[in-house]
Amino acid sequence: MDPPTELLTEQEAAVYDRQIRVWGVDAQRKLSKARVLVVGMSGVIAETCKNIVLAGVGSLTLVDDSKLTLEASAANFLIQFDELEGQGITLAEACAASLRDYNPMVQVKAEAGSIQNKPDSFFGNFDAIILGRSSISLRKHVNELCRKQGHRIGFYSVDCRGTCGSLFVDLKSHSYVSKRAKDDKDARHELTYPSLEEALSVPWKSFPKRTSKLLFALRCLEDFEHAEGRQPGHVSSQDLPALLAFWKSACEAQKVAENLVSEPLFQRLLGSGSSELPPVCAILGGIVGQELIKAMSGKGEPLRNYFFFDAADGKGIIEMVAPK
């Protein structure tokens, strides 16, 4: 049994009126208790933060100690232009200031320091963690820490590579309410999620034929960056021959045909380098935002467990990747 309904304040009722009509007061109350951590203030993370702050999460903590540069503001509208001149303010601090302004009812703070150096206990302070562009090893590490905590921590990792975007979700186990089609009554559902490690271990050969090409292309690119000792996104068109060779051996190891991914897709991913296409950030940030809202409020069916978007064909595709 849920506790008796707490009333929303007059201000909450007025500002959140239109969305309460979508997900209800109960969901809004749960959302307003969620503590969210985001790491890496990229364009897609800026979009995500805007969406969840407007929706009214309880608190949002930003981690990104990097400096304000023109490049950092390319797809990030949370950075005011005049701040670029200023010294001594971090990207997280600049973004937090804008977000507080969007919705004074949400506690937004910038957490200093690098995510790699945070003690394990730090992660226990949150109900959801969203990683922006980050190495595959950091993602696995944080995902494992999330799964070890006493309470459920929703894990999201999201990245926009030029015209392409991807999202991974691990809610461990999740129960939610949704309306049944036959009688419009609320029904409870249970979902389980594989960890990132488990999802990555699924052999390529076992994937259905129509699986999104982006899944394979992005994995190959990330493994390539890791093997070459690059920062994620630090690639260019000149890497194409090396990447294709890397792809060839990956296909041999996985026992799949090389034409699983076409060369132009690799060209396009490499050509984007570290840049993000703003409309793709908006789309991806919208999806992450709504997924987080569903997970934190327990209302509506969250996606399981990958989402891919490619501006070239305009498709937004969900893939379920789990060991058999």
Binding site: R18, V22, G271, A282, G286, D310, G316
Partner: protein
Amino acid sequence: MAMSDSGELSQQMYVNDVQKEKVLMVGAGGIGCELLKTLVLTGFKHIHLIDMDTIEVSNLNRQFLFRKSHVGQSKAKVAREAVLKFRPGVEIVAHHANVKNQEFDIDFFKQFSVVLNGLDNLDARRHVNRMCLAAGVPLVESGTTGYLGQVTVHIKGRTECYECQPKPAPKSYPVCTITSTPSKLIHCIVWAKELALAKLFGDKGQVSDLDVRSTSNEDNAVSNDPDEAEFFEVRSGESNRSYAERVFNRIFGQNIVTALQNEDTWKARRRPDPLFLDKVLTEEDAATQNNASSNDGTVSAMASLNLKNPQEIWSVKDNARVFLESIRLFLEKRSKDVGKIVFDKDDQLAVEFVTAAANLRAHSFGIPMQSVFEAKGMAGNIIHAIATTNAIIAGLIVLEALKLLSNRTEECRMTYCVEHPSGKMLLMPVEMAEPNPRCYVCSETPLVLELNTATATMREVIEKVVKRKLGVTDPVIMQGATLLHEAGEDIEEDMVAYYRALLDKKFVDYPTPITTGVVLTVEDYHQDFRCSLHVKHRDTFDEEKEPEGMVLTGDLASLNTTETAAAPTPALDAPSKAENGHAEEEEEDENVVMVEPAPKAATAGTKRKLENEETHPTEKRLRASEAVPVEV
């Protein structure tokens, strides 16, 4: 597939492309704020933005360019200022104006490479569609409701226009359902706001009738009881409280008793229970309450009765107390508004009155009651809106604009954003449909207008057909080369008198009688809209199904037959909301009308099926201003 396979869509290339382009955005609301942000981030440098609205508190959960301190200011202007803070070098021209204004003429539209709509109403969408067709500028159209959204591209001659397919008409209900036999809460809400509220506090000149009537005698829907009008006046020496009680007993009690006498009506229906105050409230319940204003000074029956939770469903007793208290407050605290009240979702007292009246009626008829929050949503046609869907839709609009501007129109798609994945797809692109050759907006299809030429007048045709069905704002009507009607400001005085003389003349009495075979031309210079109406005489019309006494169809073939059953053309049957007197809907920034059911996954990427929606005959109906439900 140039874009997917050759990597053409690299950041450098398109940014250089779009910097030179000039684009027009119509709407700075939910989609508009997101769109403006995404456009400037993408590199657009010359943007015109039109929006006539001002900022409201309920916008703040998604229109992220606005703050509480901006409430009441122009959306277009504040949005411009907010965006310049993160992209100072961009040229944004903000127009705080109605897109239908004369200043936005065809030449104005012609200066843009593309027009991007983030609009909230059918009427403005139709107008912009026509302006884009006239100016030959491609249009990207969009809409959202809740988790659902849609983006379409309209290119003159290449794809269907916005009006090629019928749009679901605002939901309406037969008069008898509202006055006599409600079966859903929405029927009671329509009754409460269109009849009860209007009768007690609205314009007395407007006829409305609160009596429960039988279904068999619809003519009685408008009361001709001379005592009835007087009954709802406050009598001399009567306290406001006694007046409220008298009204209660009449509309929830005596009227139901009267209706029950008509046995035929209730043969196959549950009989309603009359409600009389002495059975609902005890003397203590009825005692007057405390203070009559809430914290911010709004007059509210809930505040004076200490009912705090808008989500709570009141007991019958509380509904009765709110009903009585809201009448008292109207008479005592809002006396200057009495006689002119029209339902407005932002009028707290009107919302409370409508909720209580609808719930009491619902209770009588065995219909479950609702909270004031839900009733307000139903009565005010409040569209469910969230930031995330708007952000996604804005991103999709920009992607379509990029394809249009780099001449990759063959790659343009119509995209659905769905709540539950269809197949594996959450964002589902489908190919755009071709123009509908029978569309009266983007093709030259003539229309047939059937009416009784012995009784019909120009005034009726203008109101019922030209404005309501064709969506024309300032019509010019001609018979051959002879002007019969012209609207606008700069018309010669003698012509004004001439047109006025014709306005109420029967068609057969015209200098050249307007009868079967006559072709009337309807034009709107501003919209560059033109169509022909082929007149056809018919003696009688079905009062039930054709209450307007005229029928407009799009099929020329019927001209050659003598007797044709009235067959309304779907595309013509979507009156705009503005014309139904529901100005409050215009305040919403997203629009449910736009969203159509998404096709199944199997059809994605292939041609969209052209589904002709079934339309209802234009029955005598009351508009419910209820959001059209969308199922995906």
